[in-house]
């Protein structure tokens, strides 16, 4: 583990690692301690969203797939915006983002350490496509619906949000502390990047209010969607 990575562990987490024999002793920035305990440093960046502000234009999705794959696609997007145009606001739109979980089950589930904590890039949880064997165990391990990892049927590999670390089609540097394409492209500022880990326990920990005074000027309400718990 690098010194840099070690210095960023602000709250150690011990996980019972998968018991499968042959698991590598190190999954990127995570460390496997004796007794199969996995130490996983916090990610240094997170996406948060305002589901009451999103326009449903899907530009974040196509820009995500473009920057990572060079193709415009919703299925290959690492952020998923679902909508029902007949439903009432704010329930007409759901924004599903990877939470860069504290004890990321998808990282723990990977049998080949393709899904790892990237110590070179702000401890983001990301999948090395060269190592992914397409077993989909990470997808199964993700506790959220829709699953925050995507199956790429062409490459036959799994992908997930890497906060734009691996973006060959983004002209600027991506990753924690740098550009996130979805944040930058969103026409209404409904996605934000933060470096402080959101509340992991609340179901709405990654849902924030990004509607400022300007929003009110255009006629919209700034009221929080969820009471703080």
């Amino acid at each position: 583990m690098s010194g840099k990575a070690g210095s960023t562990i602000n709250r150690r987490t011990f996980l019972k690692a998968l018991g499968a024999a042959g698991i590598a002793a190190s999954a990127g920035g995570a460390i496997l301690l004796p007794g199969n305990l996995l130490v996983m440093p916090h990610s240094e960046g997170f996406l948060v969203v305002d589901m009451g502000k999103c326009m449903g234009c899907g530009t974040c999705m196509t820009t995500c797939s473009l920057t990572h794959h060079g193709k415009a696609s919703l299925s290959l997007s690492r952020i998923q915006i679902e909508q029902n145009s007949f439903a009432n606001w704010p329930d007409d739109i759901t924004m599903s983002i990877c939470r860069q979980c504290k004890d990321a089950p998808c990282v723990s589930a990977c049998p080949v350490n393709a899904n790892h904590v990237d110590s070179e890039n702000g401890m983001v949880r990301r999948i090395d496509p060269d190592r992914c064997i397409g077993c989909m165990q990470c997808i199964a391990a993700c506790p959220y619906l829709p699953k925050r990892l995507q199956w790429d049927p062409v490459q036959r590999k799994v992908q997930k949000c890497d906060l734009c670390v691996d973006t060959p089609y983004l002209k600027e540097k991506g990753g924690p502390g740098n550009t996130q394409a979805c944040v930058k492209v969103c026409p209404v500022g409904a996605i934000a990047f933060i470096d402080k880990m959101p509340d992991q326990k609340s179901p709405h920990g990654y849902e924030v209010n990004l509607r400022g005074k300007g929003w009110e000027k255009t006629g919209g309400s700034r009221e929080d969607l969820h009471s703080k718990s």
Binding site: M55, G58, F86
Partner: protein, 701 residues
Amino acid sequence: MFGFTGKILHINLTTGTSKTIPTEKYKRWGGGHGMGSALFWDLCEDKTITDGRDSKNVVCIATSPFSGTNVPSAGGRCEVVGVGVGLYPVSWFTRSNFGGRFSATMKYAGWDAIVISGKAAQPVWLDIRNDSVNIRSAKDIWGKDTKTTQESIWQTVEEETETIDGWQQLPTPKGSGYSTQKPAVLAIGPAGENQVATACLVHDAGNGAGQGGFGAVWGSKNLKAISFYGTGSVEIADPAALVQARFDAKEFYAGDVDNPDASHWGPFGKPAKPVLFCDEPSKKRRTQSCQGCINGCRGRYDIGYGNEVSCQETSWYSSFAQKWVKGDKQKASAIIMRSGELCNRLGINTYPLGEGLHWLEHLYHEGLLGPDKAISSSLDWEKIGSPEFAEQFLQAIATGNDIGKDLIDGWVQAAYKWGREEDHKTGKLQFPYWGMPEHGYDPRAELEWGFETIMCDRDMNSHCFNWIFWQANISILFGQRPFLAADKLAEIVTSKLAPYVDSPAALDYSTPNMYSDDVMQLTRWHIHYSRFWKNSTLLCDFRWADLFNTHTPDSHGATGSEKAGEHVFWNAVTGDTMSLADGLEIGKQIWALDNAIWTLQGRHRDVVKFADYIYDQPFTKGELLPFFFWPCRDEKGEWHYQDVMRRSLDRDKFEDWKSRFYTLEGCDPETGWPTRTSLAAMDLAFVADELEKNQRIGKEG
């Protein structure tokens, strides 16, 4: 083939079969309208038909290379072409356009366009999931409104698709694909089923292909809905350039919703906000947009109605509802939003309703319309403006009952049926062109709007230059100097119009200059721009062309710019090396092809004319507005914003204008028909062959 999927789906409803057409042959047209016109040309065996409800009609719903991408305010637009219904005096081959996510989903399913020919024996809907195409019975959804129809299809597809971990699994040629999205459905409501001239196609809550009567076309074919569901991608030639251009469009040109500034101008420059003719029904809403939009124009609310109802849908009943509730803005808003939503559900184009209902109200008060009157109607006309009347009226329109019985073939047609042709001629019924209502921008003042509409097939509804009206007039209404002085604005705008325009004079709409070659060249630029960049590459009319934009230091808009111009996006997506002007050349070819179809339908230059009142009466906008300012030059050649009201068109001068226009477009000025030489020069000799066979080829000049 970057930008395109490579496949076009052709459904023959008569035989119940489908086949795949390679896109390659149609690539030259760009997509959308051009591609649709070319497909119509090839697949419609009788191009002389003048009623879109004829089973020989062919209707094409086409995407573009931009569909499904993040090109700003383009990714979700979709074009519909075919012979229309309800236009006057002839239902031309025409077009309509709608937003949402239908075109994007069509692309993700692997198709560039879908062409419908023939007529099904029984009501059907089309179920397309990636490569899988099924023509299915619509027995259970026939008679349902567009919302119920879409929800029913969503449910059917969901039940028949395996859901794994919150993702729907669909077969693809390369294994399973996954999606979290709903199928994109385009449907008709009862109005379409009853083949009403003003019936439209509706997608999601508020995207309608309104003009042209395509709902009636689908109804005549027993086609209730088309559903696309796809898990694929659009291949992009230069993804990094595309992403960067999209970033630049936002950074340099777009309005910022978090820092709205009402003083900024330009279609890109206004922040996302619902466009409503009434108060918002609730502040608890989002601004909602089509796929890929840079600043949305509709809302979704927390109140159980009004989702995506905007613009004209909120206008047609607005004055009546406000009168009914005596100015209570919130009560009026509820009536207006609900009646707009009902139009979407019934599948009615709202555009003719506003001007049309004022006319019907007039006939009622004149004692000509009502129970036991010459024009029989048992609706409760005393309650016009109430929610109950809106419901009665819209149901009558959609089902072709009561007053709707005579309106089924069109509004101007009804005027003639009722012996009220004078109303059409005098402007009591303000439908100045092709049986369509005046848009709010009268041809006598906003010249390009009228000239283009009459040289094409339907209300042009293309706002590129119209932003000039707003920039000038809103400022003047507030007692402020317009942000851009008239000479500066003329210089900026006309600098974007090469190679057609080489002088700011093209924007001078003063009476001495209104029939000039300069204004004509601006009109030609706009027709060709709209034909290609808007209707074929499918840039949204509300946001493009961005001719001037006060967010930039020099007030030049995104149009033609090297940061975020139309061609920048085109080249990034397709890998071409096209210029803005190259697109205009394709637009010219598209107009030529359309004109050839109109010629086969029987068009002659003599029918290309406005309703009489446009020539016979000075424009006062029904005395609504005190002025209509536009950049003009005075006798000394100096630029001012000048009132261009209180004038009419001169028949002889406009006829001369037409002759010059036809000549420039390579047509015979005697007839308006295309010539072989000009068609051959555009690689359209096959079109000339067909015209010649029908003895409708223009004489060479």
